[in-house]
């Protein structure tokens, strides 16, 4: 089972999206982001874009910024591997984007196939020019997420917040 994701931090992230005038939110679903996705779906002023793979979200963010829209990309850490070459678009052109990434393959992971990408997530992002921060406690999520948004759009670069698996609750499939 997945521990029910707390909606408290999801609501904080939703308020942040609104306060920072983000207009496009793109997503490949993850259990940890499910409450935030629901909030964004219900908001008719936000454009929620459902992706088939995370790299589309990188490209979408570039197009959004060309047109004057700020965007956020929601995904789980396994999706970072799908983005590697597309991230060159952001670093070469200095496109801003904040990525909020829920971790798999770290604390108490039960699925061995998740572990390699979970271990590599931070290094892969940094090698491709993304500024990475990481939340280990629930009360860190909103302030760190605000930092990724402000830094992305004030300094014109991609940023990422990794949300640790320990605070999300590890999936087990045992219950």
């Amino acid at each position: 089972m997945t521990s029910a994701p707390s909606t408290h931090w999801s609501e904080s992230l939703y308020r942040l999206i609104k306060a920072q005038k983000v207009r496009q939110v793109s997503v490949v679903p993850d259990a940890g982001h499910s409450a935030l996705i629901r909030l964004c779906e219900a908001d008719r002023d936000l454009q929620l874009v459902r992706l088939t793979t995370e790299e589309e979200g990188i490209a979408l963010a570039a197009g959004a910024w060309l047109g004057g829209d700020k965007s956020v990309l929601l995904m789980q850490s396994s999706g970072v591997g799908n983005c590697i070459n597309m991230l060159s678009l952001l670093s070469v052109c200095q496109f801003p984007l904040a990525m909020w990434i829920t971790m798999r393959g770290d604390w108490a992971e039960f699925n061995p196939w998740q572990v390699p990408m979970g271990r590599a997530t931070k290094n892969v992002l940094e090698e491709m020019g993304v500024l990475v921060s990481r939340a280990e406690r629930e009360d860190e999520i909103a302030p760190l997420a605000e930092g990724t948004l402000r830094m992305a759009y004030n300094t014109l670069r991609p940023t990422a917040l990794l949300i640790g698996q320990r605070l999300l609750g590890a999936k087990t499939f045992e219950d």
Binding site: T52, G63, N85
Partner: protein, 207 residues
């Protein structure tokens, strides 16, 4: 793997890509253009470098999704993605993403020579029967066409400026090796000139 579906003599009679790009972008008005990497970007540049064109030098597979982000951000402007069959095949999932997002102002035009032109003219999947127009139709594009004549290109040009999208057009073109016509290669320059032309001074102060 079987032989290509199209014979050499059939291929030679197909539309010429530079003529197609020039006709598509004639009298472009305030059209916003994203050009996929490789030959499509050179074709669009040969038709006339323009600040409201964003030509790609990499990010293969990303052109349609860039067009989608732009179309959502600028609902009152018409947006066209001009790309090649190889580039589109790498981002084929984005046709599904566009199909459900249903941007009425977006057109995706694929210049289909059934080849990877930048890497030695190896055959692509479309040379072996993959029908990209059928994929786009199945993904829910509002209007889909397969084009083999210049008269149809003229109709597509008109549709790109007026018809409810998303539109998809697959233009069958000859496999030609042409001189490169390169756009500027500094990505920050391409981004900044596009945003300035579109957003004015606000481009430099948005945060």
């Amino acid at each position: 793997m079987s032989a290509p579906v199209t014979t050499r003599s059939e291929m030679d009679q197909r539309l010429k890509r530079r003529e197609v790009a020039k006709a598509l972008l004639a009298d472009r008005g305030d059209l916003l253009v994203v050009a996929g990497l490789g030959s499509a970007a050179w074709d669009v540049t040969a038709a006339g470098d323009h600040p409201l064109t964003f030509p790609l030098w990499g990010a293969m597979g990303g052109a349609p999704a860039i067009g989608l982000g732009l179309a959502i951000a600028q609902p009152d402007r018409r947006v066209v993605v001009v790309t090649g069959d190889g580039e589109l095949l790498m981002g084929m999932g984005s046709l599904a993403t566009i199909g459900i997002a249903r941007p009425g102002n977006l057109s995706v035009v694929v210049l289909d020579n059934e080849r990877y032109g930048e890497t030695g003219m190896q055959e692509s999947h479309t040379a072996h029967g993959v029908d990209l127009a059928a994929v786009a139709a199945a993904c829910g594009f509002h209007k889909v066409s397969t084009i083999t004549a210049m008269q149809q290109v003229e109709q597509l040009r008109a549709d790109m400026h007026s018809v409810q999208g998303p539109l998809f057009a697959q233009i069958k073109i000859a496999a030609e090796n042409l001189p490169l016509t390169l756009p500027p290669r500094d990505g920050t320059h391409l981004k900044n000139r596009f945003r300035e032309a579109l957003l004015g001074d606000k481009a430099h102060f948005q945060r």
